[in-house]
């Protein structure tokens, strides 16, 4: 689907089970070099487990994760090297909680370099990372403690601490959810600029579709451990195919022209994933009774399967039959 481009990250039929609970249950996705992929879904969809597996912090039950073609194998590398793998860095949701209140900004940002033993030209690299993150002049921030700077600046420090490692991939888990509205745009603009300027890739986990519209090249929608729809942002947010994506989009407060499809209840327990299509008990399309008989009878019994690994776009739904959906993966 993307000829000639080697994906930076490939997640192939990943399963992460905790006892009966199938938190990640056949998820496949890829992140291309220099792109922002937004992974969206509700709490309990398995988003966080999936990115922990990409970091090497969570051992998969089965399936493969490759970063720049190399398998992420938690068993063959010492744990500390996995966590401080400079290729993959993390930006957390709450910058105040992510920073040690007793460390100066300089110590926070330089810590990763010291851990991986790349302490040469340390202060130059710290200064460079801080100014890339928009904290200028960087030297002014060196001696400050987290409580001496604002919430927006703290998130910039967290980003600088990741950027100092010269990563190829940033994993960002709800990077602006705990920030004020006015600061949000600044941090998103910074993330997009880092991608455009350095060729970095970002996998951003969020339930905020406006964030995806603001910065993501592509969107992957996750439901109960699987990717149920993926494609370019304009397509997913402009013309969603999967009834789950449609419902999510319909409840964004700004899209008030759309008829709201409020799903009842919450995402089911991953220890009791519904039969057939896992979305069918909450599916507004199935409940509307408008589906042809031959499709409606399949939904509760036949699993449409996940969106295929490497698919540029597709939706895991029996009712979606457009030519660019993932035909082969959908046929059992």
């Amino acid at each position: 689907m993307h000829p000639g481009v080697t994906p930076l990250v490939e997640v192939d039929d990943l399963h992460v089970h905790f006892g009966e609970a199938r938190a990640v249950d056949g998820a496949s996705l890829m992140v291309l070099p220099g792109e922002v992929l937004a992974l969206v879904g509700e709490s309990g969809s398995g988003k966080t487990t999936l990115i922990r597996a990409i970091q090497g912090l969570q051992r998969p039950t089965s399936g493969a994760i490759r970063i720049e073609g190399d398998p992420v194998d938690r068993t063959t590398r010492p744990k500390i090297q996995t966590i401080f793998n400079p290729t993959v860095q993390m930006v957390f949701q709450d910058p105040t909680g992510a920073l040690n209140p007793r460390q100066t900004i300089y110590d926070v940002v330089s810590e990763g370099l010291r851990i991986i033993g790349q302490g040469d030209q340390e202060s130059e690299r710290v200064a460079d990372a801080l100014s890339r993150a928009g904290l200028r002049p960087p030297e002014r921030f060196f001696p400050l403690f987290p409580h001496e700077i604002s919430g927006g600046q703290r998130q910039r420090v967290v980003i600088a601490g990741a950027m100092v490692m010269q990563p190829r991939l940033l994993l960002a888990d709800e990077p602006v959810a705990s920030l004020d509205a006015s600061i949000r745009g600044e941090i998103l603009a910074l993330m997009r600029r880092l991608v455009d300027e350095t060729g970095l890739s970002i996998l951003v986990v969020t339930h905020d579709l406006g964030l995806a519209w603001n910065i993501a090249d592509r969107v992957a929608v996750m439901y109960l451990g699987r990717i149920v729809e993926t494609g370019p942002t304009e397509q997913i947010l402009g013309d969603p195919r999967h009834p789950y994506t449609k419902a999510l989009l319909s409840v964004v407060p700004e899209t008030r022209e759309m008829e709201q499809q409020i799903l009842t209840g919450e995402i089911p327990d991953p220890a009791r994933i519904p039969s057939g299509c896992r979305f069918h008990p909450r599916c507004p399309l199935l409940q509307s009774g408008s589906l042809p008989e031959e499709i409606a009878t399949r939904c509760p019994t036949d699993d449409p399967g996940p969106v295929a690994a490497g698919a540029a776009s597709g939706a895991a739904c029996w009712a979606v039959s457009s030519p660019d959906s993932v035909g082969s993966a959908l046929t059992p």
Binding site: A181, S182, I215, A247, P253, Q260, I262
Partner: protein, 320 residues
């Protein structure tokens, strides 16, 4: 326009801390008519939660509050302790933010919802209170069985609904919702907003809704008030203000949440530089001027008051 259920006049709230006086709310006035809804927007530290808590006198002892708060015909600031206890839960109730911390971890949620009804004797017996708990849980989309659950057995969204059920227990006339959806997923947020909408219709409930997400307020409320540095800087019909803000600060807040499909915001997140001022040391002149893209020399001289900016609208900016 019908009689206001809540009327606030020239409210000033000052905290006396170790660092001296901190003026958190500075001269705020507004009305909410019976059955109406007001959305209060602003960033952390703008005074919106202080304002909300003052409406039922829930601020820490020693906080200086001046002005007038009239709720349900009662002078809130002048109420005796007994009168205040009677007014809480029945005249006005609050849904607090942070669903995890607002519930007692060692009491079932059913008991917690029943408690205000028994104290206020709005339910004649424990049995009647129990029945009403089941009704309320159903109303917020939870099953009866949840009455016997402890808070840790519930998800964030479920706990938030429990708080809403509890706030509704004594049929309050005014419901104050302080960031009720901020910690929730999009779909649960939509469920909560739809629930509040239904309640407004069914019970003629008056709503004051507080969050920094202008798009949520615009969806949920008829009128919108935007606070900055302890003052209301813009007020008016919600959709009107959101779509066509008069104050540059409102404009920045509105742009922070893009309209999906709007090509001008695609790959172009919009933010506002700088940080909100600390309440203890406000800039001279308009407190927004250091961050304002349109600031002029005169903005550094005097703080503008609210002035008319359209039908039913006002804004505190000299450019209006």
């Amino acid at each position: 326009m019908s009689e206001p259920l809540l009327s606030v006049r020239d409210l000033n709230i000052t905290y006396h801390g170790h660092g001296g006086e901190v003026p958190a709310v500075r001269g705020v006035s507004f009305d909410i008519e019976k059955g109406g809804s007001l959305g209060l927007a602003g960033e952390s530290g703008c005074g919106k939660s202080t304002l909300a808590n003052s409406l039922l006198r829930l601020l820490p002892a020693g906080t200086e509050v001046t002005g007038e708060i009239t709720l349900d015909g009662q002078d809130v600031l002048g109420l005796s302790p007994g009168g205040l206890r009677a007014a809480r839960w029945t005249s006005g109730a609050i849904i607090f933010q942070g669903a995890l911390h607002a519930l007692n971890p060692v009491q079932t949620v059913g008991d917690q919802i029943a408690e205000p009804m028994l104290i206020h004797k709005t339910a004649p017996s424990e049995k009647a209170a129990r029945q009403r708990v089941v009704d309320l849980l159903g109303r917020v989309g939870l099953s009866d069985a949840r009455a016997d659950s402890y808070p840790h057995e519930l998800s964030g969204g479920q706990r938030q609904r429990v708080l809403i059920a509890m706030a509704l227990a004594c049929d309050p006339h005014l419901l104050i919702a302080d960031e009720p959806t901020t910690a929730l997923d999009l779909m649960v947020q939509a469920q909560v907003l739809a629930l509040l909408d239904d309640l407004k219709e069914e019970r003629d409930l008056t709503l004051m809704f507080i969050t920094h997400d202008l798009s949520v307020l615009t969806y949920a409320c008829q009128r919108l008030a935007v606070m900055y540095a302890g003052r209301i800087v813009e007020e008016g019909p919600a959709w009107d203000v959101f779509e066509n803000a008069s104050h540059p600060y409102t404009r920045a807040l509105a742009a922070a949440f893009p309209t999906i499909g709007d090509t001008s915001s695609r790959m172009a997140p919009s933010g506002l530089g700088g940080d909100p001022p600390t309440p203890g040391s406000l800039p001279v002149g308009c407190p927004f001027h250091p961050r304002c893209p349109l600031a002029r020399a005169e903005c550094q001289v005097a703080e503008p008051g609210l002035r008319p900016s359209g039908p039913g609208r006002s804004a505190a900016c000299i450019l209006v």
